[in-house]
Point group: C2
Chain length 219, copies 2
DNA sequence: GTCTATATGAAGATAGAC
DNA sequence: GTCTATCTTCATATAGAC
């Protein structure tokens, strides 16, 4: 089933873990801004709209954040840190087999995009709106995450586990599949985020020329 | 405006085919708006910036388009029509083998995103900013294009050519791989758009459980 | 920390001269 | 078709009372 075409993304609720969310009004503002930035884009959402949704006057926001851009910067940082944290944890729990590492990476990547779709849409899709000063650290985080997957794939190729015509294209394709999940996934989807993540991990192995034998045969 | 941390997409020039572009000022406005909408988003680019880049005053734009939203609507329509046209043409030139059809579809899909990256970014990524009235026809185009791929994949499964755990997820993943190309491809990339399209077509076959035997073995 | 009030500028769009 | 001039609304952000 295809998600609603008019919305920028299918999710309707902003999900932020307690550890992502500051205490008090600061956290409420961040969550409300996340929803509005995800739905309308950073430039398309105004300070006044955020304030109204929070239940404040716009001037009061400035007691918590020095500017609209600082709110976006915090959301981008949280999103990319959650992404990295999730992937690091998954990689720690798997062995040295490049196949297991790809499964761990892609599972974490996809599950994060399904479980925090608004965070993923904003952190990825609005990062360009940040000034160099506010965005540099987050940009660096993103490049590191891509590099981790590239390293796993190159190691798998050296060991003869993966066969792929072009490493970077494969990494880009695998990353892209997962990023897009944030736009259509909702908790109402017929499969859980875990299940989607498992299927996408298999897709990634297939792209890398190392499909799971059981799933391949079963169809 | 403060300089940004990075570019929203790698391409630096707006590409529009002659048949996409109206005559005279109308065409110039369209091309300039395409570049600015792609780089900053629809909400982030102003009528005044477009006018300045064209070499006009903002009021003069209204002799050619009734509103900013109408400019976006035309760009979205052109983008999705080019996408559909390109896929239809490719499918006419291939046979009845679902493998050939997937290759034709994905090749056209990816080549379009590489050759017209700004058009793809705007037509896909800013469609949500259109009102229902101005966006409805283009939404319909988009849904049709997705349906075409889904039909090809289902037919291939029925014939035992493809094996995939979940059809819709596979279609979504293949579509996503190609859409993302618009964000990173430039003519300076080490591979031509044709070559990238060929590699991605092979990725799609792999996701569908029907890789090219030669490429799979060759790695 | 939240409010009212406001500064300052930019937004989309229109009127009417040429 | 393009201009100057302007309307109206909205934007981000600040000042200062409570």
């Amino acid at each position: 089933m295809i998600p609603s075409a008019h919305r920028r993304l299918a999710a309707t609720r902003a999900t932020l873990l307690p550890e992502h969310k500051p205490e008090g009004s600061r956290g409420v503002i961040l969550e409300v801004a996340l929803k509005l930035f995800a739905e309308r884009g950073y430039a398309g959402a105004s300070i006044r709209e955020i304030a109204e949704a929070v239940g404040m006057k716009s001037a009061s926001l400035y007691a918590h954040y020095p500017s609209k851009e600082h709110i976006l910067a915090e959301l981008c940082r949280i999103g990319h840190e959650e992404h990295r944290r999730s992937i690091h944890r998954a990689l720690l729990e798997c062995g040295a087999d490049p196949r297991d590492q790809v499964v761990a990476y892609v599972h974490a990547h996809v599950a994060m995009h399904a479980q925090f779709p608004m965070l993923a849409v904003v952190a990825n899709g609005e990062l360009h709106a940040l000034s160099s000063e506010l965005g540099a650290a987050t940009f660096e985080l993103r490049n590191q995450s891509i590099q981790v997957l590239e390293d796993i794939v190159r190691r798998g190729i050296e060991r003869g586990v993966f066969q792929i015509p072009h490493v970077w294209l494969g990494v880009a394709a695998i990353g892209a599949m997962g990023m897009r999940v944030a736009y259509w996934y909702t908790p109402e989807f017929e499969l859980s985020s875990e299940h989607v993540a498992e299927v996408y991990a298999e897709f990634a192995l297939r792209v890398l020329g190392a499909p799971e034998p059981t799933q391949r045969g079963a169809g």
